[in-house]
């Protein structure tokens, strides 16, 4: 049985938008927690250009 929110609740790939190493502990922590809890899918990190220019 599939549900429209399966891709939200059981994603095969996750992108972290704004997760750079030099940011605060919350954002860096999220990446390490994903790994520690053994997320089986793909993790992609991205720093949107928009975010940097406006921050």
């Amino acid at each position: 049985m599939s549900h429209p929110l399966d891709s939200f609740f059981a994603p095969e790939s996750i992108a972290l938008i704004g997760a750079s190493r030099d940011q605060d502990k919350y954002r860096a922590g999220l990446l390490s927690m994903l790994r520690k809890n053994e997320f089986p899918g793909k993790i992609i990190r991205s720093i949107p250009i928009m975010a940097i220019s406006m921050a």
């Binding site: 939200f8 994603p11 996750i14 520690k36 809890n37 997320f39 793909k42 720093i47």
Partner: protein, 353 residues
Amino acid sequence: MKCFSSIADVGQPIDLAIVMVPAKAVLGALEQCAAAGVKNALIISSGFAEEGGDSAAMQDAIAELAKRTGMRISGPNAEGFFSEAQRVTATFSPTVDVKPNEPRLIATRRRIGIVAQSGGIGFAIYHRARALGIALSYVISAGNESDLGAGEFFEYMVQDASTDVILLFIEGIRDVEKFLAAARRAAEVGKPVIVTKVGRSGAGERAAASHTASMAGWSAAYDAVFAKYGFIVSNDLDEAVTIAAVLTTNPMPKGDRVAVLTVSGGAGIWGADTVAMQGLQVPELSETIQAEISKLLPSYGATRNPIDVTAQGVHSGGLQKSIDLLDVSDEVDAMLVVLSLSSDTGCRSSRPS
């Protein structure tokens, strides 16, 4: 791990984008995600409708983007979600940290699912449930609910095969139709729902508006819905978690007849009062079964219900045998066993050495 400067450069399908950029950059990041075909976005960043003014307008723009593009959006101002079943950690909550010297002890394979608007409370419920050995499917904090709301998350938990018992912590429901449909469905399939509704006082209602921009609404209307669909209302965090522990480790009783067994006469009276005040029956047992139980107890024990096996009854096996007798009898539907209440921690957990 490769780090991309733009989501457009990734070149592969993305199911979930977790957005952690500052509030003013969120909308731009979401536009990029939608253009790149990202299916869902979760906005951890705060500073939107809960602040009012221009910040609220930014949240309206996020809601509009979700409608326009079809990308589903959770948050902003959300603490995200965690799934033990799927091993997804989409949250910064410290409660999901893995400590190598503290193995996860699980008492039951039946799992709870938690939906809360407040991340602090949602993850606190998870943390306490975890300490009791209760397994988790999902805990999600809905935050400001620009698009995805608590009602829709609740609906997901109702149909989710890995969720056996649902805990809701509600400030105010925005997606009412979805919430009501999910409530009806939960009642139909017999999935238990434990609910805590806050924002019942004037001051609480005011706080809800500035916390997750929720309208707490009319308590009587919420309570009517909870009653209609058989929700278990609990306004105490420990109580809610304890109820969840009972429902994940025991089958649902078929009726309302309860036997109270204890080693202390006082605890037996207290237990009987508590059960009766919940509207349940504490029936006097038949003479036949009383005669059987009395053989297991010293002469000063009590057999009518409550059953006081006395301190001796613990060591002689009278307690366990009384439970066995009641289990096979057709005189009660549930048993409340009250052991010593003098422990200083209430509940001790042991770790494997």
